[in-house]
Symmetry: C2
């Protein structure tokens, strides 16, 4: 079935796939120069435009980068290593650091497009947060940009009955962020559940994360609980899959 599907795809996509597999297998390593348009025209017997499109697919996916006058090179990519458990340690946000600061080390991570609003809860959010009746939620949306490239969209939902009047409803939640403020409100998050999925991005997600439609997104849904098991935050994250390694280190 995969075969039939493949054969229907345009030539430039099949050439891009062959190059992608050569990169994944290590035939072309980080920093290596890929075959240029002329090489691809000769090897595959295609027009210059087709060769150019194949290379641009890989460029759009962030797999390769063009250097002016020098050719197209395999990107020396440093994905962000997101240590799922350690990054949420109380020492982290308890000492006034942000949770994501743990991921970033020496790199530049900026948060933009921050919005905070009060909204009606969807059935799903209402269920996860165990809200009563028509209770509304504080919705915090923001985007994380790493070294100039958007890598993550996050939307947090918190019960308005809990956070109204606190810095959590402001754009800047202060040192240690939302979790430090929840602790001050007597609702310290100590237990977390993360659910991970992956799928192709919607058009809107692809635009916001500057990824082409050929790169998947990873979805993480995190629920934060107090030590009494009360859910106090639900956070839906959409990650550019090409920019992340998720790590979970645990005893079992």
């Amino acid at each position: 079935m995969a075969h039939t599907e493949d054969d229907r795809r345009p030539k430039y996509q099949r050439i891009a796939e062959a190059l992608r597999e050569a990169i994944q297998s290590g035939e072309y390593g980080p920093g290596d120069r890929l075959p240029g348009e002329n090489d691809l025209m000769a090897t595959y017997g295609v027009a210059r435009m087709t060769a150019r499109q194949a290379l641009s697919v890989l460029r759009d996916e962030g797999v390769v980068e063009a250097r002016k006058g020098a050719g197209v090179f395999v990107r020396e990519f440093r994905p962000l290593r997101r240590r799922g458990i350690q990054r949420l340690a109380r020492q982290q946000w308890g000492n006034g650091r942000s949770v994501w600061a743990a991921d970033v080390e020496d790199r530049s991570l900026e948060v933009d497009h921050v919005t905070v609003s009060e909204e009606a809860a969807s059935d799903h959010v209402s269920g996860v947060l165990e809200l009563a009746g028509e209770e509304t939620v504080c919705v915090r949306r923001r985007r994380f940009v790493l070294d100039g490239k958007p890598v993550l969209l996050a939307t947090s939902y918190l019960p308005v009955s809990l956070v109204a009047g606190s810095p959590i409803v402001r754009e800047d939640t202060g040192p240690g962020g939302t979790y430090a403020r929840l602790a001050e409100l007597g609702c310290k998050p100590v237990h977390f559940r993360e659910e991970i999925r992956s799928r192709m991005p919607s058009k809107d997600e692809a635009t916001q994360l500057s990824i082409s439609a050929g790169t998947p997104v990873i979805l993480i849904c995190r629920t934060a609980f107090t030590d009494e098991g009360r859910p106090v935050e639900f956070n839906e994250m959409t990650l550019d899959a090409a920019s992340y390694i998720l790590e979970y280190d645990f005893d079992a």
Copy 2:
């Protein structure tokens, strides 16, 4: 950039994307009937073949299923919930159950294509397992099939110096599997590191997992350590992203 990329795609792909988004947004729920070929021809002004191709993309992705004479319906999909931490608990394999039995509940999961071989270690595997010089590895490959659909490819690497002569080098490792046998060898795995990535599948992966090239795979690389911190197994898993939810539940 995403916009330009989209516009280059064939019409049937754009129609498939519109339908996929309508499904993701809940406009069409599980079990709902999708617009048929005639509806799509009228709505998008396309030929029957284009409408048919659009629907077959979604069918190949496992998003919808065709019922003879009745139409095309949104699949009532039950992804496998893989509880990353609980499933590796000693009570699980220590009591002779397999690790994956924890994921499956009442569903049918079969393991096929099992092969066991002794191979030279790649630099990467050698590094992860901290092997000396030319030490070889026992390589266990297998495929997991859920309700008749392949969902996971797994390749485990273990030091031959540790497992030679044990049931770990046989196809059937016995009750509790590899981890129970490692414990008997004095190397009980108690600490785990899982690294998660997502990307598009290679052609070979798409074939083995019966997924179309439009569905991503999730990669999990797990290293198992003894309580002295010795790495005793490295397991590379490739999952059909449409078939899984990965869950991690932890205190922090």
